[in-house]
């Protein structure tokens, strides 16, 4: 503690040579600029290429607004579901040893390992008109596929690992004695969760929710399969961007895409600030 102010200027024994350090930093910045910053900038440039009026027109288009609304609806369902199940799964895996634990741990990575297109196909096979369950649901006026429930399901499936993955190491690093201190202090299990456990993993939880939100808002593959691409009804923002692009409206596609980029940047930037205020 005391000596940090004196030693920060000096080289520590574990430091890399200045040349290596400079090279690594340059490599990181160059990669970031070329592969991440430049495409994001191109989206913005492309969005405003034909002027602000064309941008506003593309954004205010009824099917663009409908797509934005559907994306928000999907987020409103998918994120809370992810939080609840993510906390439950992470807690079970971090704290208990049970027969299915390794399988559950592996299954958590499944949505990341399997192509989203396949994830979407699974839901079509399960809930489509040709499947018994799907046919029954359609007969009872609750279609899943080519409707909002299917899009929500596919999104939850694809984004499930983010919250749980962030929380498992956070839960595992909590000290048992702190839980015990809460219990002998008179806390119920619920009070322990709300007042001690979740606040202690706040940074990990926020980070997981941010990643899940960004991914859920941007998910294309799985959603493309289950939605059926009905403009104004089952198009989310990414699907709408794709149809604009396929129709040759590059500027419109970039305009709507810039919205999505903005959403992603906000979701990722604000929580980082929030989580690291200590």
């Amino acid at each position: 503690m005391m000596s940090t102010t004196r030693t920060t200027a000096r080289r520590r024994p574990t430091d890399d040579a200045p040349v290596i350090r400079a090279a690594l930093i340059a490599l990181a910045i160059a990669t970031f600029a070329l592969l991440i910053a430049a495409p994001a900038a191109i989206v913005l440039v492309g969005a405003f290429r034909l002027g602000i009026a064309h941008f506003a027109h593309a954004i205010a288009d009824p099917s663009a607004l409908a797509a934005a609304r559907l994306t928000l609806v999907v987020l409103a369902y998918a994120i809370p579901v992810n939080v609840v199940f993510g906390i439950g799964a992470a807690w079970s895996i971090a704290r208990f040893d049970f027969p299915g634990r390794p399988a559950l741990l592996a299954a958590l990575d499944l949505p990341l390992a399997v192509s989203p297109v396949i994830s979407g196909l699974v839901f079509v096979l399960l809930f489509g008109a040709r499947a018994p369950l799907g046919a029954w649901l359609i007969a009872h006026h609750t279609p899943i596929v080519f409707a909002t429930p299917g899009i929500v399901l596919a999104t939850v499936f694809v984004t499930f690992p983010f919250v749980a993955r962030e929380l498992i190491p956070a839960f595992a690093s909590l000290e048992i004695s702190v839980d015990e201190a809460a219990l002998v202090s008179g806390a119920t299990g619920w009070q322990l969760l709300i007042r001690v456990t979740l606040p202690s993993v706040r940074a990990a939880l926020i980070s997981g929710v941010a990643l899940a939100t960004a991914r859920a808002a941007g998910e294309f593959g799985a959603v493309a399969i289950v939605s059926g691409n009905i403009a104004g009804r089952t198009n989310t923002l990414p699907l709408h961007i794709a149809s604009l692009y396929n129709a040759g409206d590059t500027t419109g596609a970039f305009a709507v895409a810039s919205l999505l980029v903005a959403v992603a940047l906000i979701t990722l930037a604000i929580p980082t600030r929030w989580a690291s205020d200590r």
């Binding site: 201190a181 219990l183 002998v184 806390a187």
Partner: protein, 261 residues
Amino acid sequence: MTSTPLVPRSVTLRNVTRVFSPATPAVAGVSLHVDPGALLAMVGRSGAGKTTLLRLIAGLDYADAGSIHLGADDITDLPARQRGLGVVFQQYALFQHLNVFENIAFPLRVRHRPRAEIARRVDELLALMQLDGFAARRVAQLSGGQAQRVALARALAPRPSVLLLDEPFGALDTQVRHELRRWLAALHDELHVTTILITHDQDEAFDLADQIAVLRDGHLEQIGAPADLLTHPATPFVEAFLSPSARTNARSHARRLASRR
């Protein structure tokens, strides 16, 4: 300073047994009694069952046989949160995401006490612990001695009838340990809360305790007033364990442990 006095209760253990592995029970048939307001020190080598016994009394573990009583109440099967005991852990176990004030207020918040009462009680405890001005401090910014006083204040907040201390000063350096020992003695004189203290430091035990319990391999070798233990040791083990040379060795051992941390 403390507006409402604590009501101390006696602690009675009857044939308490806890078995993790059948060959060597962690606690085997321990019976003992602590008078209301008295301070009992539990001594014994590492692995003698001191901490296991304390956890059984706290309700953090359950006895395989025997019963535990608080005053006239049988608390053997009562969950930890309903026992209303104050517990201080060796490594403080403070809530890192809460400041000093909220750490001390925690037992009152989970009991849904009124806001004004909580503020009053926490201020009272901050003064008692000589922690005035520390209310808004982050736990991570505290020294070991300060952290342990916060832990003690948290344990005392709901006015427990019994205080359980598991080597509360074990992680502190010798000088701070001696200060806190004097100060705990004064606190105990003032509050008269029934206290069970685990310690490796026999000086600490002889200095603070009304009664000392010597444990060995899960058994209670002897319990009695400090002077009686020295003049009338019940077993050769107690005599050897409490001999002046052993006490000196234990002291230097404790010092080595502290300097290593």
